[in-house]
Amino acid sequence: MSEFHDDYPQYEMMAHHSEEAGVAKRKKLWGVFWIMLTITIIELIIGFNNHYFNPTLLMFIFIGFTVLKAFYIVYAFMHLGDEKKALKWVIIAPYSCFIIYLAFMVCLGEGEYSMGHRNVMDKQITEQQQKLKEGGEQHEQTGEHHEGETQHHE
């Protein structure tokens, strides 16, 4: 029977590396930092001048940059890129499903009321409710008339 080893140093993959490997890794990490700084500065510049852009295009640009930054943080800084494929999928797959659900349900489906159709829908619903209320009031008035005459019209 194989011994159960939960003692991580025995199979912790990135537990140690040499000085030379360290130099290369550090260089890569500083490279990612410069990428992040550049993206942030671009985002801020676009943010200052957001009146030149179409709002939908702005949304795509900003969310695109944000997802790119998130990818670099998770892949390089959190070392998910160095982990086993199984773990990568465990982390990425459920969250991606959720994000895709968000994008399609909230932005395109259920969110349509808040973000788009509200003016049209509200008017239609208000008119319909008004009609129902008026119809009910008329019915009530004739109903009182009926009761006053002690159900002769039944």
Partner: protein, 240 residues
């Protein structure tokens, strides 16, 4: 002492006796916790998105609200928020460098990089508190709002924003601002506390005795998650 396992995605992983993902249970659970926390923040940001698009005309423009910069008597939109983002990303870089130094058992470098990470975190929390202060105090000119005073609704010149009135626009903007940035700031603060504890552990040679600096890595994951959330909050709150 510790065998250097290579990242093979072999079928032997699932035969039992070892973690199939090749990481310790501590790290695995940190990842699980981070996913659950990410979903929490996603829910909050989703709610913010809904509210924001429900009132597109009266929603305050963050570029006009957050224009302060310390020691500068002027209005530079979003400059301080950009500085805060830079500080947090920088602290993320110093954290990952601490983790990398831990992989080489370089105790002194770990201490140095973790020290700078803690400084970065404290700077961020302090900056966030400063932003809150200016948001709550408001501008000199203020705005007229209809609020409840001594049991009666009156038109009053109010300054700043809190949970009942907001000179910049809808009160719900202030509610979301305080809750989301506050929740995130709480994560940053707890991250600083945890980083400090691990810093002390490294200082007292606990990691050296153990033979590995995995605790630094786990805490690093939490810190990077905090940075990741800020990236999203920054985009959805201040830019969009």
């Amino acid at each position: 002492m510790s065998s250097h396992a290579i990242a093979t995605d072999s079928k032997d992983d699932w035969s039992g006796g070892r973690s199939p993902f090749g990481i310790s249970y501590g790290k695995m659970f940190m990842w699980f916790f981070l996913i659950s926390d990410a979903l929490t923040f996603s829910g909050l940001l989703c709610a913010y998105g809904f509210m924001r698009h429900k009132y597109p005309d009266v929603w305050p423009v963050p570029g006009h609200v957050f224009t302060h910069f310390p020691f500068y008597e002027g209005h530079i939109p979003l400059a301080y928020v950009g500085f805060m983002t830079f500080v947090l990303i920088m602290s993320s870089v110093t954290m990952v460098l601490a983790v990398e130094a831990g992989h080489r058992n370089d105790r002194k470098k770990v201490l140095m990089w973790m020290f700078w990470t803690i400084i970065g975190g404290l700077t961020f929390v302090g900056s966030q508190a400063w932003e809150w202060y200016h948001f709550i105090v408001g501008t000199d000119h203020g705005a007229v709002r209809n609020i409840l005073v001594d049991g009666q609704w009156k038109d009053v010149l109010i300054h700043g924003a809190n949970l009942t009135y907001n000179e910049y626009g809808l009160p719900v903007f202030a509610d979301f601002f305080f809750f989301i940035t506050g929740f995130h700031g709480f994560h940053v603060f707890s991250g600083v506390v945890i980083n400090f504890i691990i810093f002390l552990m490294v200082y007292n040679r606990v990691m050296e005795k153990r033979g590995h600096y995995e605790m630094v890595e786990k805490v690093g994951l939490y810190w990077h998650f905090v940075d990741l959330v800020w990236v999203f909050v920054f985009t959805f709150f201040y830019l969009l």
